[in-house]
Subunit: 109 residues, 3 copies
Protein backbone atom coordinates (compact mmCIF):
# COMPACT_ATOMS: atom_id res chain seq x y z
CA UNK A 1 0.00 0.00 0.00
CA UNK A 2 1.02 3.58 -0.65
CA UNK A 3 -0.44 6.89 0.47
CA UNK A 4 -0.72 9.40 -2.35
CA UNK A 5 -1.04 13.01 -1.22
CA UNK A 6 -2.06 15.33 -4.06
CA UNK A 7 -2.38 19.09 -3.58
CA UNK A 8 -4.46 20.57 -6.40
CA UNK A 9 -6.07 23.87 -7.29
CA UNK A 10 -9.65 24.27 -6.04
CA UNK A 11 -10.89 24.66 -9.63
CA UNK A 12 -9.63 21.17 -10.53
CA UNK A 13 -10.79 19.43 -7.34
CA UNK A 14 -14.28 18.58 -8.60
CA UNK A 15 -13.06 17.04 -11.83
CA UNK A 16 -10.49 14.98 -9.95
CA UNK A 17 -13.10 13.83 -7.38
CA UNK A 18 -15.46 12.71 -10.10
CA UNK A 19 -12.78 10.86 -12.05
CA UNK A 20 -11.63 9.07 -8.88
CA UNK A 21 -15.20 8.01 -8.04
CA UNK A 22 -15.73 6.82 -11.62
CA UNK A 23 -12.60 4.66 -11.22
CA UNK A 24 -13.71 3.42 -7.77
CA UNK A 25 -10.69 4.99 -6.06
CA UNK A 26 -11.45 6.11 -2.52
CA UNK A 27 -10.10 9.52 -1.52
CA UNK A 28 -10.30 11.78 1.51
CA UNK A 29 -10.31 15.52 0.84
CA UNK A 30 -8.89 18.31 3.00
CA UNK A 31 -9.39 22.00 2.50
CA UNK A 32 -5.93 23.55 2.51
CA UNK A 33 -4.16 26.82 1.72
CA UNK A 34 -0.87 27.26 -0.06
CA UNK A 35 2.29 29.08 0.88
CA UNK A 36 3.19 30.98 -2.27
CA UNK A 37 -0.21 30.96 -3.90
CA UNK A 38 -2.54 32.77 -1.54
CA UNK A 39 -5.53 31.00 -3.06
CA UNK A 40 -7.18 27.93 -1.59
CA UNK A 41 -6.39 24.46 -2.73
CA UNK A 42 -7.61 20.96 -1.99
CA UNK A 43 -5.48 18.11 -0.72
CA UNK A 44 -6.46 14.54 -1.62
CA UNK A 45 -5.26 11.62 0.53
CA UNK A 46 -5.53 8.39 -1.44
CA UNK A 47 -4.57 5.01 -0.01
CA UNK A 48 -3.89 2.65 -2.84
CA UNK A 49 -2.30 -0.70 -3.67
CA UNK A 50 1.25 -0.55 -5.05
CA UNK A 51 0.23 -1.71 -8.51
CA UNK A 52 -2.36 1.08 -8.86
CA UNK A 53 -0.05 3.97 -7.95
CA UNK A 54 0.82 4.75 -11.59
CA UNK A 55 -2.79 4.83 -12.73
CA UNK A 56 -3.79 7.14 -9.85
CA UNK A 57 -0.88 9.46 -10.72
CA UNK A 58 -2.07 9.42 -14.35
CA UNK A 59 -5.59 10.43 -13.23
CA UNK A 60 -4.25 13.28 -11.08
CA UNK A 61 -2.07 14.48 -13.96
CA UNK A 62 -4.91 14.41 -16.49
CA UNK A 63 -7.36 16.20 -14.19
CA UNK A 64 -5.04 18.85 -12.81
CA UNK A 65 -1.95 19.46 -14.92
CA UNK A 66 -0.73 23.00 -15.31
CA UNK A 67 -2.03 24.63 -18.51
CA UNK A 68 -2.65 27.96 -20.23
CA UNK A 69 -6.18 29.34 -20.16
CA UNK A 70 -7.69 32.36 -21.92
CA UNK A 71 -9.23 34.72 -19.40
CA UNK A 72 -11.85 37.21 -20.61
CA UNK A 73 -11.11 40.85 -19.88
CA UNK A 74 -12.78 42.19 -16.77
CA UNK A 75 -14.19 45.71 -17.07
CA UNK A 76 -12.32 48.05 -14.75
CA UNK A 77 -15.34 48.80 -12.55
CA UNK A 78 -14.02 50.81 -9.62
CA UNK A 79 -10.60 49.49 -10.56
CA UNK A 80 -7.45 50.81 -12.10
CA UNK A 81 -8.26 51.83 -15.68
CA UNK A 82 -4.53 52.09 -16.42
CA UNK A 83 -3.99 48.37 -15.96
CA UNK A 84 -7.13 47.38 -17.89
CA UNK A 85 -6.43 44.88 -20.68
CA UNK A 86 -9.31 44.97 -23.23
CA UNK A 87 -8.63 41.53 -24.74
CA UNK A 88 -8.47 37.97 -23.37
CA UNK A 89 -5.13 37.01 -21.82
CA UNK A 90 -3.49 33.64 -21.28
CA UNK A 91 -2.84 32.72 -17.66
CA UNK A 92 -1.43 29.55 -16.19
CA UNK A 93 -4.02 27.56 -14.23
CA UNK A 94 -4.05 24.20 -12.50
CA UNK A 95 -1.04 22.17 -11.51
CA UNK A 96 -0.63 19.56 -8.82
CA UNK A 97 2.04 18.72 -6.27
CA UNK A 98 2.03 15.01 -5.52
CA UNK A 99 3.82 12.91 -2.90
CA UNK A 100 3.85 9.10 -2.66
CA UNK A 101 4.50 7.82 0.87
CA UNK A 102 5.12 4.27 2.08
CA UNK A 103 2.48 2.66 4.32
CA UNK A 104 3.34 -0.06 6.83
CA UNK A 105 -0.16 -1.12 7.76
CA UNK A 106 -3.64 -0.59 6.37
CA UNK A 107 -6.84 -1.45 8.24
CA UNK A 108 -10.53 -1.10 7.62
CA UNK A 109 -12.67 -1.50 10.76
Amino acid sequence: MKMIIAIVQDQDANRLSQTLVKNKIQATKLSTTGGFLRSGNTTFMIGTEDEKVDSVLEIVKNSCKSRQQLVAPVSPMGGNADSYVPYPVEVEVGGATVFVLPIEQFHHF
Copy 2:
Protein backbone atom coordinates in the same frame (compact mmCIF):
# COMPACT_ATOMS: atom_id res chain seq x y z
CA MET B 1 7.69 6.31 16.03
CA LYS B 2 4.77 5.77 13.71
CA MET B 3 2.14 8.12 12.34
CA ILE B 4 -1.36 6.66 12.53
CA ILE B 5 -3.88 8.32 10.21
CA ALA B 6 -7.45 7.31 11.03
CA ILE B 7 -10.40 8.52 8.95
CA VAL B 8 -13.63 8.09 10.92
CA GLN B 9 -17.28 9.05 10.63
CA ASP B 10 -18.14 12.40 12.25
CA GLN B 11 -20.58 10.66 14.61
CA ASP B 12 -17.76 8.57 16.11
CA ALA B 13 -15.16 11.37 16.30
CA ASN B 14 -16.17 12.62 19.76
CA ARG B 15 -16.09 9.19 21.34
CA LEU B 16 -12.67 8.52 19.80
CA SER B 17 -11.33 11.92 20.97
CA GLN B 18 -12.46 11.30 24.51
CA THR B 19 -11.03 7.79 24.65
CA LEU B 20 -7.68 9.03 23.30
CA VAL B 21 -7.55 11.83 25.90
CA LYS B 22 -8.45 9.36 28.66
CA ASN B 23 -5.51 7.20 27.53
CA LYS B 24 -3.19 10.26 27.28
CA ILE B 25 -2.69 9.78 23.54
CA GLN B 26 -2.15 13.05 21.71
CA ALA B 27 -4.04 13.48 18.44
CA THR B 28 -4.49 16.22 15.87
CA LYS B 29 -7.88 16.39 14.15
CA LEU B 30 -8.68 17.50 10.60
CA SER B 31 -12.11 18.09 9.17
CA THR B 32 -12.29 16.08 5.95
CA THR B 33 -14.78 14.90 3.34
CA GLY B 34 -14.94 11.48 1.75
CA GLY B 35 -14.95 10.37 -1.84
CA PHE B 36 -17.72 7.80 -1.99
CA LEU B 37 -19.58 8.88 1.12
CA ARG B 38 -20.67 12.45 0.56
CA SER B 39 -20.90 12.99 4.32
CA GLY B 40 -18.22 14.66 6.40
CA ASN B 41 -15.67 12.70 8.31
CA THR B 42 -12.83 13.46 10.70
CA THR B 43 -9.21 12.49 10.20
CA PHE B 44 -7.03 11.87 13.26
CA MET B 45 -3.24 12.15 13.01
CA ILE B 46 -1.63 10.32 15.91
CA GLY B 47 2.14 10.17 16.41
CA THR B 48 2.93 7.22 18.62
CA GLU B 49 5.77 5.00 19.79
CA ASP B 50 6.12 1.68 17.95
CA GLU B 51 5.08 -0.38 20.96
CA LYS B 52 1.82 1.56 21.37
CA VAL B 53 0.61 1.20 17.77
CA ASP B 54 -1.48 -1.89 18.51
CA SER B 55 -3.25 -0.34 21.48
CA VAL B 56 -4.07 2.82 19.50
CA LEU B 57 -5.47 0.65 16.68
CA GLU B 58 -7.56 -1.21 19.26
CA ILE B 59 -8.96 2.10 20.57
CA VAL B 60 -9.84 3.27 17.06
CA LYS B 61 -11.51 -0.07 16.31
CA ASN B 62 -13.56 -0.06 19.51
CA SER B 63 -14.70 3.55 19.07
CA CYS B 64 -15.49 3.48 15.38
CA LYS B 65 -16.01 0.00 13.97
CA SER B 66 -18.71 -0.49 11.40
CA ARG B 67 -21.99 -1.68 12.95
CA GLN B 68 -25.73 -1.99 12.37
CA GLN B 69 -27.98 0.64 13.96
CA LEU B 70 -31.78 0.85 14.15
CA VAL B 71 -33.01 4.10 12.63
CA ALA B 72 -36.49 5.35 13.57
CA PRO B 73 -38.84 5.96 10.66
CA VAL B 74 -38.98 9.55 9.45
CA SER B 75 -42.42 10.83 8.51
CA PRO B 76 -42.55 11.57 4.78
CA MET B 77 -43.10 15.33 5.24
CA GLY B 78 -42.90 16.85 1.79
CA GLY B 79 -41.12 13.67 0.74
CA ASN B 80 -41.87 10.62 -1.29
CA ALA B 81 -44.71 8.73 0.44
CA ASP B 82 -44.06 5.72 -1.79
CA SER B 83 -40.65 5.12 -0.26
CA TYR B 84 -41.85 5.68 3.32
CA VAL B 85 -40.94 2.82 5.67
CA PRO B 86 -43.19 2.97 8.80
CA TYR B 87 -40.90 0.88 11.04
CA PRO B 88 -37.31 1.20 12.25
CA VAL B 89 -34.70 -0.05 9.80
CA GLU B 90 -31.15 -1.28 10.32
CA VAL B 91 -28.47 0.79 8.63
CA GLU B 92 -24.71 0.42 8.70
CA VAL B 93 -22.97 3.24 10.58
CA GLY B 94 -19.40 3.97 11.61
CA GLY B 95 -16.31 2.36 10.20
CA ALA B 96 -12.75 3.61 10.06
CA THR B 97 -9.99 3.57 7.45
CA VAL B 98 -6.59 3.49 9.13
CA PHE B 99 -3.04 3.87 7.78
CA VAL B 100 0.19 3.38 9.73
CA LEU B 101 3.14 5.31 8.27
CA PRO B 102 6.81 5.17 9.21
CA ILE B 103 8.37 8.28 10.79
CA GLU B 104 12.08 9.08 10.47
CA GLN B 105 12.28 11.90 12.99
CA PHE B 106 10.07 13.26 15.74
CA HIS B 107 10.66 16.61 17.47
CA HIS B 108 8.92 18.65 20.09
CA PHE B 109 10.06 22.27 20.25
Copy 3:
Protein backbone atom coordinates in the same frame (compact mmCIF):
# COMPACT_ATOMS: atom_id res chain seq x y z
CA MET C 1 12.61 14.01 -0.46
CA LYS C 2 11.02 14.14 2.94
CA MET C 3 7.62 15.29 4.12
CA ILE C 4 7.80 17.49 7.21
CA ILE C 5 4.54 17.74 9.14
CA ALA C 6 4.61 20.53 11.73
CA ILE C 7 1.70 21.17 14.09
CA VAL C 8 1.98 24.66 15.56
CA GLN C 9 -0.11 27.04 17.65
CA ASP C 10 -2.35 29.36 15.62
CA GLN C 11 -0.57 32.40 17.07
CA ASP C 12 2.75 31.28 15.56
CA ALA C 13 1.37 30.18 12.18
CA ASN C 14 1.68 33.57 10.50
CA ARG C 15 5.28 34.08 11.54
CA LEU C 16 6.16 30.59 10.34
CA SER C 17 4.36 31.14 6.99
CA GLN C 18 6.21 34.38 6.38
CA THR C 19 9.60 32.91 7.25
CA LEU C 20 9.00 29.94 4.95
CA VAL C 21 8.00 32.22 2.06
CA LYS C 22 11.06 34.42 2.70
CA ASN C 23 13.21 31.28 2.42
CA LYS C 24 11.33 30.08 -0.72
CA ILE C 25 10.08 26.93 1.04
CA GLN C 26 6.69 25.81 -0.24
CA ALA C 27 4.18 24.74 2.41
CA THR C 28 0.56 23.63 2.47
CA LYS C 29 -1.46 24.64 5.53
CA LEU C 30 -4.32 22.77 7.20
CA SER C 31 -6.57 24.10 9.92
CA THR C 32 -6.51 21.52 12.69
CA THR C 33 -7.58 21.06 16.30
CA GLY C 34 -5.62 19.40 19.05
CA GLY C 35 -6.45 16.59 21.42
CA PHE C 36 -5.31 17.87 24.77
CA LEU C 37 -5.26 21.56 23.93
CA ARG C 38 -8.79 22.50 22.99
CA SER C 39 -7.51 25.49 21.04
CA GLY C 40 -7.02 25.51 17.28
CA ASN C 41 -3.70 24.91 15.69
CA THR C 42 -2.29 24.90 12.18
CA THR C 43 -0.58 21.98 10.49
CA PHE C 44 2.08 22.66 7.85
CA MET C 45 2.93 20.02 5.24
CA ILE C 46 6.33 20.76 3.74
CA GLY C 47 7.88 18.62 1.02
CA THR C 48 11.61 19.20 1.01
CA GLU C 49 14.88 17.79 -0.26
CA ASP C 50 16.83 15.65 2.21
CA GLU C 51 19.63 18.19 2.58
CA LYS C 52 17.20 20.98 3.53
CA VAL C 53 15.40 19.09 6.31
CA ASP C 54 17.63 20.48 9.05
CA SER C 55 17.21 24.08 7.96
CA VAL C 56 13.41 23.72 7.75
CA LEU C 57 13.39 22.22 11.26
CA GLU C 58 15.50 25.18 12.45
CA ILE C 59 12.97 27.60 10.95
CA VAL C 60 10.05 25.82 12.62
CA LYS C 61 11.91 25.81 15.94
CA ASN C 62 12.78 29.50 15.77
CA SER C 63 9.24 30.55 14.78
CA CYS C 64 7.30 28.36 17.17
CA LYS C 65 9.30 27.10 20.10
CA SER C 66 7.62 26.90 23.47
CA ARG C 67 8.31 29.99 25.60
CA GLN C 68 7.08 31.98 28.59
CA GLN C 69 4.98 35.07 27.91
CA LEU C 70 3.69 37.77 30.29
CA VAL C 71 -0.07 38.01 30.08
CA ALA C 72 -1.77 41.19 31.31
CA PRO C 73 -4.39 40.71 34.02
CA VAL C 74 -7.95 40.49 32.74
CA SER C 75 -10.55 42.29 34.83
CA PRO C 76 -12.98 39.79 36.37
CA MET C 77 -16.01 41.11 34.45
CA GLY C 78 -18.84 38.72 35.18
CA GLY C 79 -16.17 36.25 36.21
CA ASN C 80 -14.86 34.72 39.37
CA ALA C 81 -13.39 37.55 41.50
CA ASP C 82 -11.76 34.97 43.78
CA SER C 83 -9.46 33.75 41.04
CA TYR C 84 -8.64 37.27 39.81
CA VAL C 85 -4.87 37.89 39.60
CA PRO C 86 -4.24 41.68 39.57
CA TYR C 87 -0.74 41.49 38.05
CA PRO C 88 0.73 40.07 34.80
CA VAL C 89 1.42 36.34 34.89
CA GLU C 90 3.80 34.18 32.90
CA VAL C 91 2.13 31.53 30.76
CA GLU C 92 3.67 29.03 28.36
CA VAL C 93 2.81 29.76 24.73
CA GLY C 94 3.84 28.28 21.39
CA GLY C 95 5.48 24.94 20.86
CA ALA C 96 5.50 22.70 17.84
CA THR C 97 5.17 18.97 17.25
CA VAL C 98 7.11 17.93 14.16
CA PHE C 99 7.27 14.66 12.20
CA VAL C 100 9.64 13.87 9.33
CA LEU C 101 8.29 11.19 6.97
CA PRO C 102 10.01 9.41 4.08
CA ILE C 103 8.72 10.06 0.56
CA GLU C 104 9.08 7.52 -2.24
CA GLN C 105 8.04 9.70 -5.16
CA PHE C 106 7.54 13.40 -5.74
CA HIS C 107 5.83 14.85 -8.81
CA HIS C 108 4.84 18.27 -10.03
CA PHE C 109 2.29 18.25 -12.84
